[in-house]
């Protein structure tokens, strides 16, 4: 397994993808975190100010939580590409020639995504803090970086990003077509899930289901969400923190097992 993990690292770092995606993620999150911090802190003279319903500390936590709420698409894509690029460029052939046990390959990909997710998660969280904190400090009511709850949110953000990376790998094992996987990830994260959460949450009968959507589970684990903070009244309840963690892990395991017994059982040719 050690050899398989080393191989996965070499695969990851031997193309330009990892730093290109990291750069894009940093740029995107800096813009979002800085922008939101500015728009939520500066008194625009409008009737309803964010500070009317969020305490300064809650506001800071909300800004810091964009790492997962907005940035989770990056670890998902990083994870899925670890699998789909092998199929796209047929390097899967070579990978299975040196290690014919396919479960080993799938597990190595899942495990190797943990440190990768940790790295992307820390980078993303640092970016959000670096872009958001100065704005909150200067234009708002403080950055609250020493605050216990804020620190908890930051640490949980990194953990959630790790889980998203693993989810990306697990998803990639199910949908190995690279283009399709990216399209589905983008469509699901940017469109389908946000709509589904609002739509399902709007009715009592279905609001229970919406809690179990992956994004809602991540928010639950995080304990604070950009979306749920604003989902005043109409927003559905979230699972408890541990529940969110379990739901995410179950998604990862189910997807990986499904991938192993479907696409990873098929002929490679």
């Amino acid at each position: 397994m050690t050899a398989a993990l080393v191989a996965e690292y070499r695969k990851f770092f031997s193309t330009r993808l990892w730093w290109v995606l990291a750069l894009v993620m940093v740029g995107y999150l800096a813009l979002i975190a800085g922008g939101f911090a500015l728009s939520l802190s500066v008194d625009t003279g409008a009737e309803a100010q964010p500070s009317d319903f969020l305490s300064p500390q809650e506001l800071a936590t909300t800004i810091y939580s964009v790492t997962s709420a907005i940035g989770y698409v990056f670890p998902l894509i990083v994870g899925s590409l670890a699998v789909t690029s092998e199929f796209r460029y047929q390097t899967i052939t070579g990978s299975l020639l040196v290690e014919p046990r396919r479960s080993v390959l799938v597990i190595a990909k899942l495990l190797s995504s943990i440190p990768m997710g940790l790295a992307y998660g820390m980078l993303a969280t640092l970016t959000v803090v670096a872009a958001g904190a100065p704005v909150l400090e200067l234009a708002g009511d403080g950055a609250f970086l020493g605050d216990g709850e804020v620190i908890e949110t930051l640490v949980l953000s990194v953990i959630v990003m790790v889980l998203w990376t693993m989810m990306g790998v697990a998803f990639g094992t199910v949908l190995t077509n690279q283009v399709a996987a990216i399209v589905v990830v983008l469509a699901f994260t940017q469109l389908i899930e946000p709509i589904a959460r609002v739509a399902l949450g709007a009715f009592d009968a279905t609001s229970e289901i919406s809690k179990f959507l992956p994004g809602a589970a991540a928010d639950a684990l995080l304990g604070s969400s950009f979306f749920s903070s604003f989902g005043t009244g109409s927003g559905p309840e979230l699972l408890p923190q541990w529940g969110g963690a379990i739901v995410m892990v179950v998604y990862i395991l189910v997807l990986a097992v499904v991938g192993r017994v479907t696409t990873f059982r098929r002929d490679i040719g």
Partner: protein
């Protein structure tokens, strides 16, 4: 170095209604170079992929020594395979590609540099594979197959995309590998590419075994062609036909089948003919290969027992020009 044999037993692979490999059985003897031949689409790659655990046989089995490839620990140290020249990430360097394989092959990075030097990619190893020519990709695939210093080497169409120098180099490499006592199984749809390198041949068509023998035995199925050019075309025509030989008249020369050049020379000498050219073209294996594979659906037995007198498909001799005058026209 002794290597285990490769055994293919009643191997069958169906894709829906299509039978890609049909009850195929043959063995690859250890320490020899075996050419695995057949037209494109005859099931060579599918057979190799089943042997290497990438595809699941519908029935039958393909084993290395006594084991399934999938059951071998660190298989790349026993079997090195190069399947397709396109299985690389274009954004990875040649060296980077080998480094992704090295840990599971079980070799240090230094071995990557060694094999890159061996295949002549030393100067290109820091370049991205996306910029490699087809020939360079073939060489990189070969390098990957050699990483684990395996005693069995399986190459699928390694000559594809190689220029003539590359093919000559490949022949040398195959011979060198065999000289080490390694077992080499090399597939090709062009017999000539491997003819000079192989000891044994396995010919398949439409997924069925057509012929399996040593190269020498295959050569005995071939007709020998001798080109004869004399000062007097008609006299030569008469002499050659009087002997009862099979003769193909061409514009300015004849091609005589299955007769020793010396015997032909003697006959022409007795007739006092001035010989300008007497060239033994040897066994025309390509013609045999085409003849064997064109009727792929025919049972194997059809080709057993035919001696040198089997009707040849003469493709080596250039066809006469459309308006070729016959000997009679000239008189």
């Amino acid at each position: 170095m002794t290597a285990p044999a490769i055994t293919i037993e009643h191997l069958t692979k169906r894709f829906g209604d299509f039978t890609a490999v049909d009850d195929l059985s043959f063995t690859v003897a250890p320490g020899r170079v075996t050419g695995f031949l057949g037209p494109n689409g005859s099931g060579k790659t599918t057979t190799l992929r089943m042997l290497l655990g990438l595809m699941q046989p519908t029935s039958g089995r393909a084993i290395v020594g006594e084991s399934d490839y999938r059951d071998i620990r660190r298989p790349a140290q026993l079997v090195g395979a190069a399947l397709e020249a396109s299985s690389f990430h274009p954004g990875r360097t040649g060296l980077g590609h080998l480094r992704t394989l090295a840990p599971q092959v079980g070799v240090p990075d230094s071995r990557c540099h060694e094999v890159l030097e061996l295949v002549g990619l030393d100067t290109a190893k820091k370049r991205r594979v996306g910029g490699y020519s087809m020939g360079m990709r073939q060489r990189l695939g070969l390098a990957a197959s050699l990483l684990g210093d395996p005693s069995i080497i399986i190459l699928d169409e390694p000559a594809n995309g190689l220029d003539p120098q590359g093919i000559a180099w490949l022949r040398g490499l195959l011979r060198a590998l065999a000289a080490d006592g390694r077992t080499v199984l090399v597939s090709s749809h062009v017999l000539a590419e491997v003819q000079q390198s192989v000891d044994d041949v396995v010919v398949i068509g439409s997924g069925k075994l057509i012929h399996a023998s040593t190269l020498t035995e295959l050569e005995q199925l071939a007709s020998r062609d001798v080109l004869v050019r004399t000062a007097d075309y008609q006299a030569a025509d008469r002499v050659l036909r009087e002997q009862g030989w099979r003769v193909d008249p061409h514009l300015e020369h004849h091609v005589v089948h299955d007769v020793d050049a010396a015997e032909i020379g003697a006959a022409l000498h007795r007739a006092n003919l001035e010989v300008h050219q007497l060239a033994d073209h040897g066994a025309d294996l390509e013609a045999v290969f085409l003849r064997l594979t064109e009727s792929s659906d025919a049972p194997t037995s059809q080709f057993v027992g035919h001696g040198p007198t089997a009707p040849p498909v003469d493709v080596a001799a250039p066809p006469p020009p459309p308006a070729a005058p016959t000997a009679g026209d000239l008189s």
